[in-house]
Symmetry: C2
Subunit: 338 residues, 2 copies
C-alpha cells in the first residue's frame, strides 16, 4: 500500500460548473493561494469542460480563462498549476497559451476507450516540459482490462501518471478497486482517481483507490461541482490522515480556506438531489437528463426509466438521438403508444 498521497484540488476547474464558470481573478487568487498554503500538490484551473470550454455548448466563462490562469500563477508558489484539456474542445494552441499564462502541468482527458486521440497532445506537453497526465473519463463504461490497455497508450505517449475519472458518479468502492488494480498492474507510472458523489460514496471511493495503491486523488473544497459534486477536499484529507496515509495537504487549513473563500461564492448547497442520484445510478452523462425529460413528456413515460435504459446500453455523448428511440420503445412496451 502506498502511504503517501498527492491531492489535486480541482475547485477552480470541476468546481466551476457549480458557480456557472463565474470565478473572478480575485476569487481565483484567494482560493489558489489558500490551496497552495494548505499544501495541495496540484491546483487545477480551467473552464469546467477544460481549456476553451467557454462556449454556447458548455456555458461561457465570465472571465477569460487565461486571465484566471495568470491570476493563479501569481500566487501559487509550491503546487503545480495544472489545466485540463479535452482534445476536440481545446487544442494544442490553447495549451500553448495556457503554458505562457503560467500553467506548469496539463491533464489531457478522453473518453475511457479513446486514449489514442490524446497521444499528440501528451507528446507536445512533455516536449515543452510540462507535468503531463493521461485522464480517462467515464471509466465505469468499460472493463478494468480495457482501461489497462488504454492506460498503456498514455504511458507510451509519455504521461507522468494515469487518472481514472468516475465522471457519472456510478461506481461503488469495490468497482473502483478493480479498476485501479488493473491499471496499476499494467503501467509503471502512478495511478490517480477522480470521484463524483452522485451515490454518496465519493470520499469512500477515493479512500478505496488509495488503499489499492492510487497515489493521486482529485477533490474540491466543499465538494464543489456539477450535480452532486466531487470528493470534498478537506474531508478527504481528514479521512486519509485518519486512515494512516500521508498528505502534504493539511485538512485544518483546507477547512479554513473552504470557509473563508468558497462558502461565500457558492450558489447552491452541495447536496445530493434526485437528478444526481438518477444520473449516478444509471451511469449516464448529466447532459442526457434534459433530453430524457423532454422525451419522457412526448411519449408519456418516466424519464428515470429512459436514463436507466440508456445506461444499460452504454450510450455516450453524440448519441442523443437514441434517447427518443429508447423513450418510444418503453412506451410501446407499456402499451402507451398514444
Amino acid at each position: 500500500m502506498q502511504k503517501s498521497i498527492k491531492i489535486i484540488d480541482t475547485t477552480l476547474r470541476d468546481g466551476s460548473h457549480a458557480v456557472s464558470h463565474s470565478f473572478t481573478p480575485e476569487q481565483v487568487k484567494a482560493i489558489a493561494g489558500g490551496l497552495d498554503a494548505a499544501g495541495v500538490d496540484l491546483i487545477e484551473i480551467t473552464h469546467g469542460d477544460g481549456l476553451a470550454g467557454s462556449s454556447i455548448n458548455y456555458g461561457f466563462s465570465e472571465h477569460p480563462e487565461l486571465e484566471l490562469i495568470r491570476a493563479a500563477s501569481e500566487v501559487v508558489k509550491n503546487a503545480k498549476l495544472t489545466v485540463l484539456l479535452l482534445p476536440g474542445i481545446g487544442t494544442i494552441e490553447d495549451l500553448e497559451m495556457a503554458r505562457d499564462a503560467g500553467a506548469t502541468a496539463v491533464r489531457i482527458a478522453t473518453h475511457c476507450t479513446e486514449a489514442d486521440i490524446a497521444i499528440q497532445h501528451i507528446r507536445y506537453a512533455k516536449e515543452h516540459g510540462m507535468f503531463t497526465v493521461g485522464f480517462l473519463m467515464m471509466v465505469h463504461m468499460t472493463s478494468p482490462e480495457e482501461l489497462a490497455k488504454q492506460a498503456l497508450v498514455f504511458e507510451e505517449a509519455g504521461a507522468d501518471y494515469i487518472n481514472l475519472a468516475d465522471s457519472a458518479g456510478h461506481l461503488l468502492p469495490n468497482e473502483v478497486r478493480a479498476r485501479v488494480k488493473a491499471v496499476r498492474e499494467a503501467v509503471k507510472i502512478p495511478v490517480g482517481f477522480h470521484a463524483h458523489n452522485n451515490l454518496g460514496v465519493a470520499v469512500a471511493n477515493s479512500l478505496a483507490a488509495a488503499e489499492e495503491g492510487a497515489q493521486y486523488l482529485d477533490a474540491t473544497l466543499r465538494g464543489l461541482g456539477a450535480g452532486a459534486g466531487n470528493a470534498q477536499s478537506e474531508v478527504l484529507a481528514a479521512v486519509l490522515n485518519r486512515a494512516g496515509f500521508e498528505t502534504k495537504a493539511d485538512f485544518n487549513t483546507l477547512m479554513d480556506v473552504a470557509a473563508e473563500f468558497v462558502d461565500p461564492v457558492m450558489k447552491r448547497p452541495q447536496v445530493i438531489f434526485n437528478d444526481a442520484i438518477t444520473i449516478g445510478y444509471a451511469g449516464v452523462y448529466s447532459s442526457f437528463l434534459l433530453h430524457a425529460r423532454n422525451a419522457a413528456e412526448t411519449y408519456g413515460v418516466n424519464a428515470r426509466e429512459i436514463l436507466v435504459e440508456l445506461g444499460k446500453r452504454r450510450m455516450v455523448g453524440g448519441q442523443e438521438d437514441m434517447i427518443i428511440d429508447v423513450a418510444h420503445e418503453i412506451a410501446l412496451q407499456q402499451g402507451q403508444t398514444n
Copy 2:
C-alpha cells in the same frame, strides 16, 4: 453475504435534530405515510434524543411526541413503528405510553460499554410484545471484542437484533467491518448499523456493514440529522440495489417522498461543514464543541486541538470538566499560560 437488507428510516427521530424537533403531526403523517408506501421496514419516531428527550437539556419538541407517534400510527400500515429509548432520559413509563400511542417496536440505546443498564427495558418491551432492539452508541470508543461482549448482554436479555451506532461519524469502512464481524460472530440474532456522515462515508460505511453481513441499516431522507447528518435513505437504497442487495424499500419512491415532504421542512442544507469534520475526526460528542470553544478562548488555544485530545482520551458525556483541564494542559505545553 446476506443479500436482503431491511431499512430503518429515522428521519422523524434522528432527523428531528436538524429541524430543532419541530415536526408537526401533519408533517409526520406525510413523511411516515410516504416511507410506508416506499417499503421501508421500520420507521422511527421520537424526539432526537429518544422518548422524553424534550427538555431544556436536549431542546424542547414543538409538539408532544405522543401526539406525533399517534399521527404516524394512523398512516403506517406495513412498517413497524419504532421509538428510541435511552435509559436515563426516558423511562419504562414513557415506553408504555408510546406503546399505547401505537409504537410496535423500540430501540433501547446505551453507551457502547453499558448494555447492562438496558436489560430491564428490553425485558419489559419483549414481555409486552414489542419488536425490541439493543442499540450501542459511540461504537468507535471500544474494541470489536468488547462490542461483541456487550451485544451478548442484549441478546441474553431478549433483543431481536443488535444495532451498532457510529454516533460521532468517526469510523472508516474497514473499522465498521471489524465491528460488524465481531458482533455477528458473537450473537445469533441479526446485526444492524447506524452511520453518521461527518467524514463523508456514511453511505459507504453502511454498504460495508451490509457486505459484512449486517441485515438492518439506518438512514434518513436527505441525510437529515445533526451536524453532517446520517446516511441518506434514498441514496443508500439506490446503492444497495446497485450492489446487488434486495430491499423492500424502493429508492425512486424514497426520492419522491424526500422531494415532496422533506425538502420543504429543511432549515439548512445537509452538508459537511467544518465543525462536523472536526467532531468526526476527533470522535467526540457534538455537545463538546461549544465547551471546547469556550475553553479555547479562555486559554488562548485552538478548539480543534482540544477536541482531538479529548477524543484520544476517550472522554464521554458527563466528563465536560475535563475540557478545561485539557485546554489548560495544551496552553502550558505551548507556553501560553496567560
